[in-house]
């Protein structure tokens, strides 16, 4: 288990992660729809192992403004999870949640906490589904929010993956309500936890 290598991951493993991503994002979408009290659709998530550089390009460049929610997980598995949303999508969600149009370019304190709540619900429902699928106890820590350049936000998971290799495992999901929202999950379990997730599903 310890020598599990992201670079040489099998197709089967990808399929499992994709399915986990799919179910997790599905739950997150349902939670989002309940919160916004409207219909939210999503596309089939894409799971990709990308070079650090390519992750930011995918999101529209290193300087693209993004909202990132980052939290630790503890329990049977340890690691962290990040959910990223393009800033305009984040503004859309917050204005919908608060039932008003946002003024100005920057988020107010109130809007930041609404955004944090959106992030809590999305990441929480994601982890819930991971937990019920695997039967593992997963406790999220208090999430933290940053609105900044994609490159800067991504440096955090990149550094965590950086201790293992030069790639990031990214789950890309598109949500649709009135507009298309691009959301990205980055799961950062430590290597041992990858093994635990897989063996709990009977893969390894």
């Amino acid at each position: 288990m310890a020598n599990l290598d992201l670079e040489t991951m099998s197709q089967e493993y990808y399929d499992v992660l994709k399915e986990l991503g799919n179910i997790g994002a599905g739950n997150a979408t349902t939670a989002l729809a309940q919160m916004l009290q409207c219909k939210v659709d999503m596309s089939v998530p894409q799971v990709r192992l990308l070079e650090f550089q390519d992750v930011a390009s995918l999101m529209g460049g290193e300087e693209q403004l993004m909202a990132g929610i980052y939290l630790g997980v503890d329990g049977d598995i340890t690691g962290s999870i990040m959910f990223l949303l393009e800033k305009e999508s984040a503004r859309h969600l917050v204005s919908k949640l608060m039932g008003m149009t946002l003024e100005g370019e920057e988020f107010s304190e109130m809007e930041m906490s609404a955004l944090q709540e959106v992030g809590n619900i999305i990441t929480g429902s994601y982890l819930n589904s991971l937990s019920s699928l695997t039967g593992l106890c997963i406790y999220p820590t208090i999430p933290s929010l940053a609105v900044d350049m994609a490159g800067a936000i991504l440096s955090v998971p990149a550094i965590e993956f950086g201790t293992l290799g030069d790639k990031i495992l990214l789950i890309q999901t598109q949500f649709f309500d009135e507009i298309q929202l691009d959301g990205y999950f980055i799961l950062i379990p430590d290597l041992e936890s990858y093994g635990k997730i897989l063996s709990s599903l009977g893969i390894m």
Partner: protein, 161 residues
């Protein structure tokens, strides 16, 4: 026409005036700009982790402060700089999130800055200026012609150090 050469994450590039080097969206990583003021040869490294000796998979030289700085200097000297004249400026090393769970990942930005300064001191390269820490991302551009290190951040005035 002068060119601005882009440096990615865990990457380094050198250039000769009037060209410049840039890296976008530095977060907890550190951007290390070094130049020879006489020959106007310079370069920029975008390092992610403090210490290559702590990591098993450490073949990516520009990823670490220790090996990245050594390689940057090697390339700058190969391009005609003199080691005794080299000077440095550094930026980045922010803590992007208020909370980070893994104990060794706490303060990774600070640790990157510390490791960078330690390595530069070891190599006797003075750090002329720095814009590090805090909790926001930075885009930097380095001009070996003047030594100007331009720093941009979201919602902040552009700074030159």
């Amino acid at each position: 026409m002068s060119e601005i050469i882009k440096v990615g994450m865990a990457d380094l590039k050198i250039c000769v005036s009037p060209d410049a080097v840039t890296t976008l969206g530095l977060g907890s990583c550190v951007g290390i700009a070094i130049r020879d003021p006489i020959t106007k040869v310079g370069g920029l490294a975008h390092i992610m982790l403090p210490d290559s000796t702590q990591i098993k998979n450490n073949s990516n030289v520009p990823k670490f402060a220790d090996t990245g700085i050594v390689e940057l200097i090697r390339q700058i000297i190969a391009k005609g700089a003199n080691q005794s004249r080299l000077v440095a400026k550094i930026a980045g090393g922010a803590q992007m999130f208020a909370f980070q769970n893994k104990s060794d990942m706490v303060r990774i930005g600070d640790r990157n800055v510390e490791a960078t300064k330690k390595k530069l001191a070891e190599l006797k390269i003075p750090v002329l200026a720095q814009d590090t820490g805090d909790s926001y991302g930075r885009t930097v551009i380095f001009y070996p012609e003047t030594g100007d290190f331009v720093i941009r951040a979201v919602g902040k005035e552009q700074r030159v150090i």
